[in-house]
């Protein structure tokens, strides 16, 4: 076993043990509430995987978390703590919505790439401004991105209630897009192959998310731009020595992150709700931080962590529906424990596990 393999084993074991711990504590809480934790676990897993509708929802949530997880990870590799995926997703979604409203008579194969472009441009812009402020003015991105989340929220409320809302409507939403620009839903895609599945919000964007995972992986570790990004993220002095512009790379990382976050809009707006509405991104951006950190900022880890949070969202909904003592907030508690153990207390058992792996190696 060489160093890299040993490291991978340690990281994997650390993550698994932390997750088990989080579930153990969740189980204790459920037990204290007078319910059967084993039954709760089964209900949750059944809700997430047990039937095709549940699985559809699980993967639909997973798609969102992949985008925001990647958004955080790209910034992280450049030494940034981008907690603005929430706002970037919101504004990126605006871009998607506008393209769909304006070009609704165009064919999907043209609108889809344009919607992607629009979410990159607007989401990227929403990341670029904090990036610029950080690079040129030294304003900390944690402060500016969270401010931009609020600005995004106010901008969207105003646009939706004054500009985009059809006059006769009551709720602050845009009108529905024409069906021609909807991203095909998964049951439709399966129908092309003659397979019948239940209709869920899961749509073709899921495949796009997988492509994004792959592209980000190649970009970060296999291109010279990724190389520059990582150099800036690990050692600014060495970057200057190597003639790598620190400020340029900070802005680039924020633009890419913003664009990736904006793809939430493709899944939510173009793939599911088919209209622009308030708070379609609620919480997805923040969950992306946990997804990326638990997934160690690596696309493969992000995929698994996004799936985990998909299960928690969908399985948790099922759980609160089935078990009386457990309501919606219990699910938030479980998610919180996962973040606590896998994120904040990540290194709780690391020394022991490292020793164990070392003994295994010799």
């Amino acid at each position: 076993m060489n160093e890299t393999q040993a490291n991978t084993l340690v990281v994997t074991l650390v993550t698994i043990i932390n997750l088990l711990l989080a579930f153990l504590v969740s189980g204790i809480v459920i037990w204290v509430l007078g319910e059967d934790p084993w039954f709760a676990l089964k209900t949750m897993l059944y809700g997430a995987f047990g039937y095709d509708e549940g699985l559809g929802y699980t993967l639909y949530y997973t798609t969102n978390f992949i985008f925001t997880g990647l958004a955080f990870a790209v910034g992280f590799h450049c030494g940034l703590f981008n907690i603005g995926a929430e706002g970037q997703a919101y504004i990126g979604g605006l871009g998607v919505g506008l393209v769909c409203l304006w070009l609704e008579s165009w064919p999907l194969w043209l609108v889809f790439p344009l919607a992607i472009l629009a979410s990159i441009v607007l989401g990227g812009l929403w990341g670029a401004i904090p990036g610029y402020l950080k690079a040129k003015r030294g304003s900390h991105e944690v402060v500016t991105t969270i401010m931009f989340n609020f600005i995004a929220s106010v901008v969207m409320v105003n646009l939706l209630s004054h500009v985009l809302k059809p006059p006769q409507e009551m709720s602050p939403e845009s009108r529905e897009f024409s069906e021609g620009v909807w991203v095909p839903q998964m049951h439709e895609i399966f129908e092309w192959f003659g397979i019948e599945i239940t209709q869920t919000p899961l749509n073709g964007t899921f495949f796009f998310a997988l492509i994004c995972l792959f592209l980000v992986w190649r970009f970060i570790w296999y291109t010279r731009w990724g190389y520059e990004l990582r150099t800036v993220g690990t050692n600014e002095t060495a970057s200057v020595y190597a003639g790598i512009s620190v400020s340029k790379n900070i802005i680039i990382a924020m633009v890419i992150g913003g664009g990736l976050a904006g793809f939430v809009g493709i899944n939510e707006i173009m793939g599911s709700s088919h209209r622009l509405m308030l708070n379609f991104q609620a919480g997805i951006g923040f969950t992306g931080i946990a997804v990326s950190l638990i997934g160690r900022n690596h696309p493969l880890g992000i995929l698994l962590a996004a799936l985990l949070f998909g299960i928690l969202y969908q399985g948790g909904a099922e759980l609160s529906f089935e078990v009386q003592a457990i309501d919606r907030h219990m699910v938030v508690l479980i998610q919180g424990l996962v973040i606590l153990f896998a994120g904040a207390l990540e290194n709780l058992f690391r020394p022991q596990i490292e020793q164990f792996v070392k003994r295994l190696a010799t």
């Binding site: 160093e3 190389y227 150099t231 050692n235 002095t237 060495a238 020595y241 190597a242 790598i244």
Partner: protein, 509 residues
């Protein structure tokens, strides 16, 4: 033979498959200065870490003051009267000297009370051992030499009778090092025992009573310093004969490759660091810049290599003229034919968490040779790194090892390989052998001279006067941001240069 302060017998320590200490025995007499010398990676630091309780030996016994001991952690070591001064200081920068010394030994709830009690004791120690620092000075306002004194005071305050110093002169100027040695002699006279870990032969000869030599995890010799010499020690360390003097033919300088004209540099805090410096470096010669560290050499280097934007004056590299308004960065300088081995390889020359192969293209990563349309050409990078590591004998020869896991000398070889393998017209090299072991020093020096003999221009900046004297063809001496004078290497002597380094020009004397 006087009493033994420390006796180690049969110490073994393995890290995985690597044997760091193999059946090591060591006797340190009380009231002496005992040197432990060996190349980087010879196991000196591991041995001392075992003595100080950072690691546990796999087998072997430790006795301190003739008492057999189990040292499980640093507390045990301190209780046994062992104090350690680390290579990288363990001080809180924003605390005062007193606060740093007291840190960890406070008693009761009121910090004020412990500080007051300790202040007296600390002042007594300062006087007794001539280690005056000023107990209320804040650490980050003190020069490195004084910070080191604080570390020594810390150890003494905790009642240390045996003091271990790990590469104490690595960060010091020659003057500060001399001062440290006077302090160490003082400590010896007061009956303390000092263990000095170093790889510098001169220090061993200058200060120690006894010396133990380590090589590849083993003790290869215990000698009385008075009965040995540098050549013998070097041979024992490296395991073969070493040329301490660099052999080189006379220079054949050609046309100027680098011309610096009226360069001025003021740093962010407004200090005028480089004042109207002009000189040139011709092809086929090595120009050395000598000076006590902190006299503007680093800033001069930064301005020439594009690390800092050029502020005033201009540079000519071959036919290119570089003016401040061009805002040339390090990448531009490389394009003009400059290679740069920076002073600080760990912070600047390497990204220590990257693998050796990723580091082998740092600064050259945009070279078309390494890039396809989108992705980088892994094979090209691999072969560059492989070639460099073989040619420069980097050990271990593992392309995927993180740079931080190479020893100091091998890290430097990685940097030198990267910069020299591309056959640059101009090599700018700062502190080429700082913290590098003897075998590697000899190798790096030969590479620099080979560059010169191939008709390249070399600008060498070093605070090691020996290095400047043995490598350079012309020597410029910097003091307070100015060039105090130029000396031909053939007629140079240490005394003249020393005077220039102190800011006394020839005309004045």
């Amino acid at each position: 033979m006087s009493a033994l302060a420390i006796e180690l017998t049969g110490i073994n320590k393995n890290f995985g498959n690597v044997c760091a200490n193999k059946d090591v025995s060591l006797k340190v007499e009380s009231g002496t200065i005992h040197g432990i010398i060996g190349e980087n990676g010879a196991g000196k630091s591991t041995l001392m870490s075992i003595l100080y309780g950072f690691y546990q030996a796999d087998s072997g016994t430790i006795s301190v003051q003739d008492k057999s001991m189990q040292i499980q952690n640093a507390h045990d070591a301190i209780d046994a009267g062992i104090g350690m001064v680390h290579q990288h200081f363990m001080l809180v920068d924003t605390f005062t000297v007193l606060e740093n010394v007291v840190l960890g030994t406070e008693t009761g709830y009121s910090l004020k009370k412990s500080l007051e009690a300790s202040a007296l004791e600390l002042q007594r120690l300062e006087k007794e051992y001539h280690l005056e620092v000023g107990i209320d000075s804040v650490i980050n306002t003190l020069p490195v030499g004084l910070q080191q004194r604080v570390e020594i005071l810390k150890a003494l305050y905790r009642g240390a009778d045996i003091l271990i110093l790990d590469e104490p002169t690595g960060v010091l100027t020659p003057q500060e090092a001399d001062h440290l040695f006077r302090v160490l002699s003082e400590l010896r006279e007061q009956g303390k025992t000092v263990i000095l870990i170093t790889h510098k032969l001169r220090e061993i000869m200058a200060i120690t009573d006894n010396v133990s030599v380590m090589r590849q995890g083993e003790m290869v010799a215990h000698l009385k310093t008075a009965e040995t010499n540098q050549e013998e020690l070097a041979e024992l360390m490296v395991g073969r004969k070493v040329l301490l003097q660099v052999d080189k033919a006379p220079a054949k300088p050609g046309k100027p490759v680098l011309t610096v004209e009226h360069l001025d540099f003021t740093d962010d805090s407004g200090v005028h660091r480089v004042k109207d410096v002009s000189f040139n470096v011709r092809s086929g010669e090595i120009v050395g810049i000598a000076g006590v560290s902190g006299n503007g050499q680093s800033e001069l280097l930064a301005a020439i290599t594009g690390i800092q934007p050029l502020q005033k004056g201009q540079l000519k590299i071959n036919s290119e003229t570089i003016r401040p308004d061009m805002r040339a960065d390090a990448a531009d300088m490389r394009r003009f034919g400059m290679a740069h081995v920076p002073e600080d390889r760990q912070r600047m020359g390497l990204v220590t968490s990257f693998s050796a192969q990723e580091n082998s293209i740092l600064g050259y990563h945009n070279d078309p040779a390494y890039n396809g349309l989108f992705e980088m050409d892994r094979d090209a990078i691999l072969s560059t790194c492989q070639h460099g590591m073989e040619h420069y004998d980097v050990r271990p020869n593992n392309l995927n090892l993180r740079a931080s896991l190479f020893s100091g000398g091998n890290q430097q070889k990685l940097v030198v390989a990267r910069e020299l393998e591309r056959d640059p017209e101009l090599l700018v090299i700062g502190q080429p052998t700082r913290g590098v072991d003897i075998g590697a020093i000899e190798f790096i020096h030969r590479q620099i001279i080979a560059m010169r003999d191939a008709g390249k221009a070399v600008l060498l900046v070093s605070v090691e006067l020996d290095e400047i004297l043995s490598l350079s063809d012309r020597i410029l001496v910097m003091f307070a941001g100015q060039i105090m004078g130029e000396v031909q290497a053939s007629s140079a002597n240490e005394r003249d240069i020393g005077l220039l380094m102190a800011g006394i020009s020839k005309e004045a004397t």
